[in-house]
Amino acid sequence: MRGLTQQCHAVPLLAPAGDADHIPPMTITLNGAPHAIEPGQTVAGLLAALGFETRKVAVERNEEIVPRSAYEATHLAPGDAIEIVHFIGGG
């Protein structure tokens, strides 16, 4: 899933006029699709924003596992490829 461009901004890069303090969102690839997040977002913050319970999912960042204990400390970077998975029925 790293094939996507590192800088595929789905949102305007420039902040609106008169809002000099506004930091534009950045884009990551989440489960294969572009996803805008606020700069400084952590894995824990992303899961909370999406509404997932951490104990029921697992997260991979750029093909590396993010241990649950590191969710709070792991800050996302532009272009990160994030996979969030869970268990479903299977044979």
Binding site: G51, K56, A58, I65, V85, H86, F87, I88, G89, G91
Partner: protein, 268 residues
């Protein structure tokens, strides 16, 4: 034996061990293909299985509150056996099971690397590669494989903890098509050997167990039965029946009749 066996002793005295973990049920069931999660939970409970296979997939980002498998099939009650269904390369299989290990902390896993439809036959070169990578990474690998004694031996020597050949193609319900080969593979196995695919109905599961398999893994035979819960009960009993028949040792076959009632003392 001092006493005759009862149903009770049969059910409790015949545990088996894989990767240092003991289980009483020799039936492993899949959790896929059910109508809904309620039916999944009911069928699994009815089967008496202690190990269930599960798949790892992307969450549904648009519905984070959707019920999840864990809410219905409690991982504290059942041993989750994450699988690699859908993985066609060793790399994908390793990534998938690393995620599974993080999600649940389990290192006992089911490796399956399949070829393309319509056979979905085990891709043995890719399976060897994935097994090697997984074992190196600390996983305990129960491996789905071809009914190939050379491949099975090699997997065992690599360190796989259970060998799981197919009885017939996945989801085919054709039953155990290769009883002689399965029996020969059991003969040489030093780790548990389970028939992992092809079981269609209760008698198929019993046949696999009568051959001497340590267990049977199935999913569609229950999930696709008209009444899955009832079929789950049937499978539970079939596996016990087949196992007991194997332990009991069947009578010799003979070409011809042998009367069961004495021929002496007949009235004249």
């Amino acid at each position: 034996m001092d006493q005759f066996m009862t149903d009770e002793t049969v059910a409790h005295d015949d545990s088996w061990t894989v990767a240092g973990r003991s289980f009483r049920s020799r039936l492993i069931v899949g959790t896929g293909k059910y109508k809904d999660l309620e039916e999944t939970a009911a069928a699994i409970a009815a089967s008496g299985a202690e190990i269930v296979t599960v798949a790892v997939r992307r969450v549904n980002l648009s519905d984070p509150a959707a019920p999840m498998l864990q809410d219905f099939v409690d991982p504290k009650v059942y041993t989750y056996l994450p699988n690699t269904a859908g993985c066609h390369t060793a790399k994908d299989a390793v990534r998938t099971l690393r995620l599974a290990r993080e999600a649940g902390g389990w290192n006992l896993v089911k490796l399956e690397v399949l070829g393309p439809p319509p056979h979905l036959y085990p891709d043995m070169p890719a399976t060897f590669e994935a097994a090697e990578a997984l074992i190196k990474d600390g996983f305990e690998v129960m491996v789905y494989c071809a009914d190939d004694p050379l491949a099975a031996k090699r997997l065992e020597e690599m360190g796989c903890v259970a060998i799981m050949p197919l009885g017939a193609p996945i989801g085919s319900g054709l039953g155990v098509q290769n009883p002689a080969m399965i029996a020969m593979m059991i003969e040489q196995a030093t780790v548990p050997l389970l028939v992992d695919a092809g079981v269609g109905t209760a008698s198929d599961a019993a046949i696999a167990m009568e051959l001497g398999c340590h267990g049977v893994l199935l999913n569609s035979a229950i999930a696709h039965a008209k009444d899955p819960i009832r079929m789950a009960v049937a499978m539970k009993h079939a596996v016990i029946a087949g196992r007991q028949a194997f332990l009991a040792g069947r009578m010799p076959r003979r070409m011809g009749a042998d009367p069961s009632s004495p021929l002496t003392g007949l009235i004249r």
